[in-house]
């Protein structure tokens, strides 16, 4: 009788585990993360001559069963919630079919003039291979606070869509914090950029007392902080950086650290990261440079987005 009960209980557990979860219901996903939409545009270098959108080779598609991991040396990352509710992430790397424009260029999608030396990188479209996606944005590393900030900055999947709400950004922020390992850093605030929000949301939040700007005088990059930074440091990723020693006499190999370099030094070694993050951040806040040493120690507020590139 006991065995029969055990078998029945086991069968019941198996059956329930095979049922679709709440997160997999397309209607619920539409509500939580926005309706699945085609990217607003695909840049000329993102598809090969056969029309196939080249995947970013650093792609990770995260859910509860398969968490992703971030690396401060590879920041910044782009993220998109895909059709199945996974968080697809990939760092911005140089695209093999892209070019570097020494004299700058005119970009037809947003009719903007890009600065000299601009390189064509993998964008959000390369994370999903050009497929439809839900709300999307960036994961930026703020060196000052050693935190990852999240925003909704995507010209393909967030902007131009009428339902990419602040509530969806909160849901996405919660999911990302749950299924993406911050790689030894911690989670910073979650920003909702009004330049990438639908008109109804802009109207609502422009009157909000929580409205903030990257530069209050210039009223640049209006945004709302939806979720504050997390305080507890993530320990899980430290384990990732450990190595197993062959010389270990124990049957189970012992771990030892491989990479002890601080994230800031690593970033300095990478000119790409230096160029993308710091240079523009400093320009946006000229006062910060003039302040004395004592004041310089005061941590700066993380920026809501990294640059003016709308992709």
């Amino acid at each position: 009788m006991r065995n029969l009960c055990k078998t029945l209980l086991g069968g019941l557990l198996l059956a329930t585990s095979a049922l679709p979860t709440f997160a997999e219901d397309p209607a619920k996903l539409d509500e939580m993360f926005g309706v699945l939409s085609q990217p607003a545009y695909i840049k000329h270098y993102e598809a090969n001559l056969q029309g196939k959108v080249v995947l970013n080779p650093y792609l990770q598609a995260a859910n509860k069963d398969n968490p992703a991991i971030l690396d401060v040396k590879r920041a910044p990352y782009n993220w998109v919630i895909d059709a199945e509710g996974r968080v697809a992430i990939a760092p911005e790397a140089a695209h093999p079919l892209g070019r570097t424009y020494e004299k700058g260029f005119f970009r037809p999608e947003d009719k903007s003039t890009r600065k000299p030396g601009t390189r064509e990188n993998f964008g959000h479209v390369s994370i999903l291979g050009g497929a439809p996606g839900r709300i999307s944005g960036e994961i930026l590393f703020d060196k000052e606070s050693k935190t990852w900030t999240l925003n909704n900055k995507s010209g393909r999947y967030s902007k131009h869509n009428t339902d990419r709400t602040a509530e969806q950004m909160i849901q996405a922020g919660k999911l990302i914090r749950e299924v993406v390992n911050p790689g030894g850093a911690t989670w910073g605030p979650v920003f909702y950029l009004l330049e990438y929000a639908p008109a109804t949301e802009v109207e609502k939040h422009m009157k909000s007392p929580d409205l903030a700007y990257d530069d209050a005088k210039k009223k640049s990059r209006p945004h709302i902080i939806l979720m504050p930074a997390l305080e507890a440091p993530a320990k899980a990723a430290k384990a990732e950086k450990k190595a197993l020693s062959l010389q270990d006499p124990k049957p189970e190999a012992k771990t030892e650290k491989v990479d002890k370099k601080p994230a800031v030094k690593d970033e300095k070694a990478d000119p790409k990261v230096e160029k993308k993050g710091d240079a523009k951040d400093e320009k946006a806040d000229p006062k910060a440079e003039k302040k004395g040493d004592a004041k310089a120690k005061k941590p700066k507020k993380p920026k809501a987005a990294q640059n003016d590139d709308p992709s």
Binding site: S37, H44, R86, A93, R107, D163, E240, K241, L244, A253
Partner: protein, 251 residues
């Protein structure tokens, strides 16, 4: 009687395999596995769900050194001094293969070959293309040169539940030790009695993702020419490629 015959067959087979394994008597042969596509250039390295594809060259438990020929794109039994090459050691502890469309750039200290992968799971035949997740790297030094191998857990196997080297160690005790011991020992020792290969240990998943991504990008860069790029307009600006401005109207 029937059973006895079978046993005799098995005994004969064991003799042949045993002699091949010991390297005392190898049967000269050329064995080629031709796939539906070129085994290096024909398959995507990464899938949309974040898994990687691995072309299996050597099946777990075997000793024959099969490898993809970059020119023909076929898997061939390696030949050395006019004879097929067999590992003179225990059979491979896991499936061994490479990640298509990847290259370890010689300029960056690589060997110019595709990324080697150790695929954990049941034995798979040469020429299989299997999906899995990279969980780490077995760092190896072969006579002073880096020879790192990515550790991949194949989908739909008991190992698929492992997300890191630490988890692999916890859930499957001894596997990391077996891999390290086998790969540092199978080539034997030098004249001074030192093992020809050495291993400083394993690296984590983040390193594995970066290692594969870098190698795939290096491959794409190596095969991309200006002819593969879309032409610019007369002023040197990109042309509009696809601009549906897809709008979700909230309907």
């Amino acid at each position: 009687m029937k059973t006895n015959r079978l046993n005799l067959h098995k005994f004969a087979l064991a003799l042949v395999l045993g002699s091949a394994f010991l390297g005392a008597q190898t049967i000269p042969q050329t064995h080629v596995v031709k796939g539906e596509k070129h085994f290096i250039a024909g398959y995507d390295p990464i899938n949309i769900d974040g898994t990687v594809n691995v072309v299996i060259e050597i099946s777990a438990g075997t000793t024959a050194k099969y490898q993809v020929d970059v020119k023909t794109g076929m898997i061939e039994l390696e030949q050395k001094d006019g004879a097929p090459r067999f590992v003179k050691y225990l059979g491979y502890p896991c499936n061994y293969g490479n990640i298509p469309r990847s290259i370890l750039d010689k300029k960056k200290g690589g060997d110019g070959d595709a990324v080697d992968a150790l695929v954990l799971g049941a034995a798979l035949p040469s020429g299989s293309v299997v999906r899995g997740r990279a969980i780490g790297i077995l760092s190896l030094m072969d006579t002073g040169e880096k020879d790192d191998k990515v550790v991949v857990v194949a989908e739909n196997t008991p190992f698929a539940a492992c997300r890191s080297i630490e988890e692999l160690d916890k859930k499957f005790p001894g596997v990391t030790t077996i891999l390290q011991t086998w790969f540092t020992s199978y080539k034997g020792r030098d004249k001074e009695g030192k093992l020809l290969l050495s291993s400083p240990g394993f690296k984590g998943r983040s390193d594995a993702i970066n290692f594969i991504g870098d190698a795939v990008l290096d491959y794409e860069k190596s095969v991309t020419t200006d002819a593969d790029r879309r032409p610019l307009d007369e002023k040197g600006n990109p042309k509009l490629y696809r601009w549906p401005l897809a709008k979700n109207m909230g309907e």
